[in-house]
């Protein structure tokens, strides 16, 4: 039996999480280094996965399959296609930066009880999330996926509720209340989604007698597994609802601003850049493959919702006064684009959406982490508390600007490629929706530049006058992200090569082909 | 008459016995529930159990019938009575309900459940009674023994373990481990002095009493009863009989009579404030 590479990518951070949690209270720094090393080792494994993955090969590769709960046909089945590889790489890539950015975020304020170990907990939780996200990307068994899709909520809950920004305008107590509110809101939204999905998972089992994604999809394609139209639609809705909450799609989005606002910047990145991607990824992998007809049936509604997300998220971002909230609404807008791309049912749309997931992860990480550095310096999240930072901390401002430019999809940076692909993909099938979505890019420019203008330019405010520029550790976080943004903007081919075959497969699952250009169609 | 029919139709004697004793059993059960005093409940229950023992016998369960009388009525019910003694024989429970709606709900559920059960039995096709004749051919006890030591041997062994566990459990629960050396009398008295408690021997009950019952508190000079005179167990059970009103009445009558005889004017009764009362 070959080495279970995929299992290793998930087990490594899981073991790392346990080990980190076990580090004694006094050895905080050791815990940090341990977490960092584990995340780097995971990254190495992810790179090995990427290298071993053959884009021209079988659909699912590096597969592992073991019986688990044989009574219910639940199997421990892992396998990756191009889309999963891309997201796996993204997750593994972002983790070291998240850990490095949160290096001092969870240090105990005062050295109180000897058993008090928030730092260890923080990093252990982050690694636990990594393990669960990775296995969600790899699972090809619906039940296995569901378990980790849900289990992810537990560490996330503690990360949101337990760790917040240090200084808070209304004092620690108010901050703590708001944090718990945000954490509970996050948990409730996602639990409701998850429960509905559980019902759908059970329903799927009763219909198919099987949990294996590949087998069900195969049976659907062969026609050996017939689902009544209404059954398929209900099941689809059950799955989609959970993913739409996670993604999040308007109007199920309101947990995200709260969660991102209250958590520390690295955790906010973890939420939006990594965990939420599971939702959009699952739409692509599960909704479309398992329920192709229902997906097509629901497409118009979903497209409209995605469109609303795009415009609505952007407009709300413009109206925000809190930096992190602004980024959160911007993310809602971007998730709208991703969902739009997925359900446009064109190669460009779906490749673009996958690429978008990766790029959005990197760009949001860059923007949010720099914003986190900024906030940690001034101790306020309010945009109005800043001004003229550019003068005192030019490198910080510069990196912030690049992160912002990536968010507004400036050509030459990675998000542009994906956003354009999504728009083109949508436009070829639904021109009107494509055009309206394009307004999103104008609004993106508006909220990004307004944010930059209000915080970084203008006369230097007294409160920021003594603000130090980025430190070496912070530069180490931001620089690779920016390099990656530029690289993927200039040369995204490595990713598209991996993603394209998988998208082709998905397209054939839903029996859709790209529309022909008008000129050819006329002939 | 075929054997089957014989088993099906019971003899007239048994029918008579059933109706009479059945009535007794139901009455016993009802009084178990509704008697105010636990002792009465226990006795009623014992009666019901004996009736049931007879029914067991009538149904061919000779061994069980005897066991029911010996073990259940003889041992278990006596255990109940012991506990009732410990806790207080005469203490009558108030049947006043304290939880809102509890009684109504209970009765409703009870009646509903009963009706359902009866309906269920009535609905079931219970026409064929094989009778225990064949099974008891080699003797009831032998038949049971054969089953217990073959088919049910594991259950039997486990039951044994259960009984031992129960016995040990009962001991653990009721046994109070002495964790320190018992105090000597000297130490006890020193302790008492240090705490400022009642130093002299406790007063005897029945002062000014109409009779010398132990459950009547002795009266203090001002006529109030002193609970110290009653044993602690009775006090805990709340079984101190309050006769102060009568005693005071007696006292008054006595004073009046002596005044009349001695032709004196009445004096104002003194108000005492005793530490003993304050500590109460």
């Amino acid at each position: 039996m070959s080495f279970p590479l995929l299992t290793a990518t998930a087990v490594l951070p899981a073991v790392g999480a346990v080990a980190t949690a076990a580090v004694p209270a006094a050895r905080r720094t050791a815990a940090k280094w341990l977490a960092l090393l584990v995340s780097l080792a995971t990254l190495v494994l992810a790179i090995v996965v990427m290298v071993r993955f053959d884009p021209g090969g079988a659909r699912y590769q590096l597969t592992e399959s073991h019986a688990w709960i044989s009574d219910f046909g639940v199997r421990y089945e892992l396998g990756v296609d191009g889309i999963a590889v891309a997201l796996l790489a993204l997750t593994a890539l972002l983790m070291p930066f998240i850990i490095l950015a949160g290096w001092n975020d969870a240090d105990p304020l005062e050295t109180g009880s000897k058993r008090w170990r928030p730092t260890q907990g923080f990093f252990a939780l982050i690694l636990a999330v990594e393990a669960m996200v990775i296995i969600s990307f790899e699972a090809t068994d619906v039940f296995l996926f569901y378990i980790f899709f849900e289990a992810m909520l537990i560490p996330m809950y503690f990360l949101i509720g337990g760790f917040g920004d240090r200084a808070h305008a209304q004092g620690e107590e108010a901050a703590s209340t708001q944090r718990s509110y945000a954490a509970v809101k996050f948990l409730l939204y996602n639990l409701v989604g998850g429960l509905i999905m559980l019902a759908a998972v059970i329903g799927l089992y009763t219909v198919s007698g099987n949990f294996s994604l590949a087998e069900i999809a195969q049976a659907r394609a062969n026609g050996t597994l017939h689902m009544a139209t209404s059954t398929e639609r209900w099941l689809f809705l059950g799955f989609f609802f959970a993913f739409a909450v996670k993604a999040p799609l308007w109007p199920l989005h309101t947990w995200l601003p709260n969660a991102m606002q209250e958590s520390t910047a690295p955790v906010a990145v973890l939420i939006t850049a990594v965990v939420d991607k599971v939702g959009t990824f699952a739409m692509l992998r599960f909704c479309l493959q398992l329920f192709p007809e229902a997906s097509k049936w629901a497409t118009p509604t979903i497209l409209v919702l995605a469109l609303i997300s795009i415009i609505y998220g952007a407009l709300l971002a413009v109206g925000q006064r809190d930096i992190k909230r602004l980024v959160a609404y911007a993310s809602i807008s971007h998730f709208g684009f991703i969902i739009l791309g997925i359900f446009a049912m064109t190669s460009q749309g779906q490749s673009g959406a996958t690429l978008y997931m990766v790029n959005h992860g990197i760009s949001t990480a860059a923007l949010m982490l720099v914003a986190g550095f900024l906030i940690s310096r001034r101790g306020s999240r309010l945009i109005a508390d800043y001004g003229g930072v550019q003068k005192v901390a030019p490198v910080l401002a510069g990196t912030f600007l690049i992160g912002g430019l990536a968010t507004l999809s400036l050509p030459g940076l990675a998000p542009f490629v994906s956003e354009f692909l999504v728009l083109v993909g949508t436009f070829t099938r639904y021109p009107a929706i494509g055009i309206i979505a394009t307004f999103g890019i104008v609004l993106a420019a508006l909220y990004t530049l307004v944010l930059y203008q209000r915080t970084m330019t203008g006369p230097v405010k007294p409160a920021v006058a003594a603000m130090p520029d980025l430190k070496a550790r912070e530069l180490l976080v931001v620089t690779p992200l920016i390099v990656l943004l530029i690289f993927l903007g200039v040369y995204p081919k490595p990713v598209t090569d991996i993603v394209n075959p998988a998208v082709k497969q998905t397209m054939s699952d839903v029996h859709k082909t790209d529309p022909k250009p008008a000129v050819e169609a006329a002939k | 008459m075929s054997p089957q029919l014989a088993a099906y139709a019971t003899s007239t004697g048994e029918a008579f016995q059933f109706w009479v004793l059945g009535t007794v059993a139901v009455i016993g059960a009802l009084s178990t529930v509704f008697m105010k005093k636990a002792v009465h409940s226990a006795l009623s229950l014992a009666g019901t159990m004996i009736v049931l023992a007879v029914f067991y016998l009538a149904n061919g369960a000779y061994f069980l019938g005897i066991v029911q009388i010996v073990v259940y009525t003889g041992a278990i019910m006596m255990l109940f009575l012991f506990v009732v003694m410990l806790v207080g024989v005469t203490a009558a429970d108030s049947l006043q309900e304290t939880i809102k709606g509890q009684r109504w709900l209970a009765v409703l559920c009870g009646v509903g459940f009963g009706v359902l059960l009866l309906a269920g039995i009535a609905n079931a096709s219970l026409k064929n009674f094989a009778g225990t004749g064949q099974a008891n051919a080699n003797g009831n006890v032998e038949g049971l023994a054969a089953l217990i030591f073959t088919k049910y041997v594991f259950a039997f062994e486990i039951t044994g373990a259960l009984l031992i566990t129960a016995a040990v459990g009962a001991m653990v629960l009721t046994h109070r481990e002495r964790t320190e050396r018992p105090k000597t009398q000297r130490e006890q008295s020193e302790q008492r002095v240090r705490d400022g408690k009642h130093l002299p021997p406790l007063p005897a009950p029945g002062v000014y009493a109409r009779h010398n019952a132990v459950d009547i508190a002795g009266l203090l000079p001002d006529g109030t009863p002193s609970e110290l005179t009653v044993s602690k167990t009775l006090r805990d059970r709340g079984q101190v009989r309050d006769v102060s009103a009568e005693a005071l009445g007696d006292l008054k009558a006595l004073e009046q009579r002596s005044e009349e005889r001695l032709e004196r004017t009445p004096v104002e009764p003194a108000h005492f404030k005793r530490s003993e009362e304050a500590s109460k």
Binding site: T254, V417, F427, D497, P517 | A119, N123
Partner: protein, 633 residues
């Protein structure tokens, strides 16, 4: 080495400069400006080498292609990084790198005292790279990259003095307005993709005839929207005036000579599409005509020398767009005017910069006057630029503008008459406002006063490093037009790319030239009467309604403010409210409902064992009932 391989180096040189200067940090502060200038000049040298190579080829073999790599391959969507160097892009390359290098040189002096000079040069190099990418791209998507790239550079440079809120706001405004235009370009690309299955220049432009006219018109209008944004044409012109917040070299390079002309490039490059979509063409000419008058009127009313020049730029680009909208009759002249305008407008801006440099960064022309004595070189170069822009016979502007006016009449029919008349009127107004600028700045009495700190400006000539570029540009403004026009050199050079037709002018060329001259004289005359004969008041008079409107950019900003900014603010604010109360409220309401319900239910849990026993018993009863029912059924 093949000439093709040099193309990428054109872009690489300034890109390298930008990277080095922006990443290099403070270590490069001392040498940064020279690095920037050298790399920009390197690019120019490459440009000249390539130009020589092109000249050595046949007229129909002057298109060089360099395929670097495949950029975004997704199914039918194939975007390559391929460069195309033909006569049209060559013209732009030379203009961009040439004028760009001169302005780099000028900036060495102009920005000498700015502590962030290194970064300024980094941005300038970034701009050059993006602009070169724009003109060298072989497909619309790559062009779009350059298109937004110059927008970014423009944003960074307008807002270079970020500590001034006005500069930061102007930069943001420029970027946003441009984004609206960019939206047009991106939709146009999508439409091309759905129509032709590609967006590379070659296949799209050669298959135009296969597509329906409706689609082509749509593409054309969307491209026009993009051009309006980038080239500050009505209705997206409002950002250009504010963009003058940037340092003057920026205004000269980006907002006069190169970037703002990108729209004209786009239209000329997509000529095949417009040729097949007459409706779109008509709209282009209308936009051009409206803008040329609009810009000219705004230019007349501004007292800020840079804003007056900005109005002029708008107006001149209006000419170009008008010409480009005329189709093959006008393409060549649009580009020719673009080049000559590049020279003289850059020269004028540099002159204005020189004036400001000597006047403590004062921009109000009412506080200038009589400067010709103090700044002779600036005066002469500015004067030559002035003569060129008003179309003084023999200078550059005369040749190029005259041709455009002729071409407008040559459009034929009523349209031709209207457009030609507009162009003529524009020429008169141009003469008026430029004369006004000239008179108010260099003639008359000195009107400057000590500022609030008591410092009286001491006007002085700028250093050589600044005057040399001005002189070079002045030479260009004088001779470029003549050089291009003699023997129709420029026409023959560009014709293979753009095509050319003479049109049928209702009036002869001579008459048009005469009319233009008359307009010129009228414009100059009125200006002289108003500003040359009478002293210029130090405080602007209230003026007529039109003047006041023109000072406010013909109320465009007010319109934007009321409709877009206010409306947008209300919209976002109400949406924030809706999100909080309605969307969140529904969810919270549900939660509260469950909370209330559970509050009721928890009363059932009173802690009494007997109570629980009742529920158990009830449950058991229900189970029995259910069992019986099942059996009954």
């Amino acid at each position: 080495m093949n000439a093709e391989n040099l193309i990428a180096l054109l872009i690489a040189a300034p890109l390298l400069g930008a990277a080095v200067l922006l990443v290099g940090g403070r270590r490069l502060d001392a040498a940064g400006h020279w690095i920037g200038t050298i790399l920009s000049t390197t690019s120019f040298v490459f440009g000249v080498i390539l130009f020589a190579d092109l000249l050595g080829r046949n007229a129909d073999d002057r298109t060089l292609m360099q395929h670097l790599y495949t950029w975004v391959p997704v199914a039918g969507f194939q975007a390559d990084v391929t460069f195309r160097l033909d006569q049209l892009s060559m013209t732009f390359v030379l203009l961009i790198t040439g004028v760009g290098s001169l302005i780099h040189l000028y900036s060495v002096g102009y920005m000498e005292h700015d502590e962030r000079r290194r970064r300024f040069f980094g941005y300038l190099n970034l701009f050059l790279a993006a602009m070169l990418l724009l003109v060298l791209a072989d497909n619309y998507l790559l062009l779009y990259v350059g298109w937004e790239g110059v927008g970014l550079a423009s944003y960074l440079l307008i807002g270079f003095w970020q500590h001034k809120p006005s500069a930061a706001t102007a930069a943001k405004k420029a970027f946003l307005v441009n984004r609206v235009g960019d939206m047009g370009l991106s939709i146009a690309i999508m439409l091309m993709f759905t129509t032709f299955g590609t967006f590379a220049f070659g296949p799209v432009l050669s298959h135009v005839t296969d597509a329906s006219e409706g689609r082509l018109t749509a593409i054309g209008l969307l491209l026009l929207l993009a051009a309006c944004g980038k080239s500050a044409q009505v209705p997206l012109q409002s950002w250009l005036g504010d963009a003058m917040e940037g340092p003057t070299p920026v205004s000269a390079l980006i907002h006069a000579a190169t970037m703002v002309t990108a729209g004209v490039y786009l239209i000329v490059r997509s000529g095949a599409i417009f040729n097949a979509a007459p409706d779109a063409q008509l709209v282009v000419t209308v936009v051009g005509a409206v803008t040329l008058l609009f810009g000219a009127i705004v230019g007349c009313a501004k007292d800020d020398i840079k804003k007056a020049l900005a109005g002029s730029t708008m107006s001149q680009i209006g000419y170009m767009v008008l010409a480009a909208g005329l189709g093959p009759i006008g393409y060549v002249f649009a580009i020719m005017h673009l080049v000559t305008h590049g020279f003289f407008k850059a020269g004028l801006f540099l002159g204005a910069g020189s004036v400001m440099h000597g006047m403590n960064d004062e921009v109000d022309m009412r506080k200038f006057g009589g400067l010709r004595k103090y700044m002779p070189v600036t005066f002469i170069t500015f004067g030559l630029g002035y003569l060129a822009i008003i179309g003084f016979p023999g200078l550059s502007g005369f040749f190029s503008k005259d041709k455009i006016i002729e071409a407008a009449f040559a459009k034929g029919g009523t349209e031709g008459w209207i457009l030609g008349t507009c162009a003529l009127v524009g020429a008169a107004i141009t003469a008026f406002y430029m004369t006004r600028v000239m008179l108010m700045t260099f003639f008359g009495e000195k009107r400057w006063q000590p500022d609030e700190h008591g410092h009286e400006p001491h006007p002085h000539e700028s250093p050589k490093v600044m005057t040399i570029p001005m002189i070079v540009l002045a030479i260009g403004s004088v001779f470029a037009g003549g050089f291009f026009s003699i023997g129709d050199r420029f026409l023959h050079w560009l014709e293979p790319i753009t095509g050319h037709s003479e049109g049928d002018s209702p009036i002869s060329a001579g008459v048009v030239t005469g009319a233009t001259m008359v307009c010129l004289v009228i414009g100059v005359g009125i200006a002289y009467l108003q500003y040359g004969r009478r002293p210029v008041p130090a405080v602007a008079p209230r003026g007529s309604l039109l003047t006041r409107a023109a000072r406010r950019d013909l109320l465009q900003d007010d319109f934007n403010h009321v409709v877009l900014v206010r409306g947008g603010e209300h919209l976002t604010r109400s949406l924030v409210y809706v999100d909080h109360t309605l969307v969140d409220g529904v969810v919270n309401g549900t939660a509260a409902g469950f909370g209330g319900l559970s509050g009721r239910l928890r009363k059932l849990q009173n802690g009494y064992a007997r109570s629980y026993a009742v529920s158990m018993f009830g449950g058991a009863a229900l189970l029995v009932a259910a069992t019986l029912l099942m059996r009954a059924v």
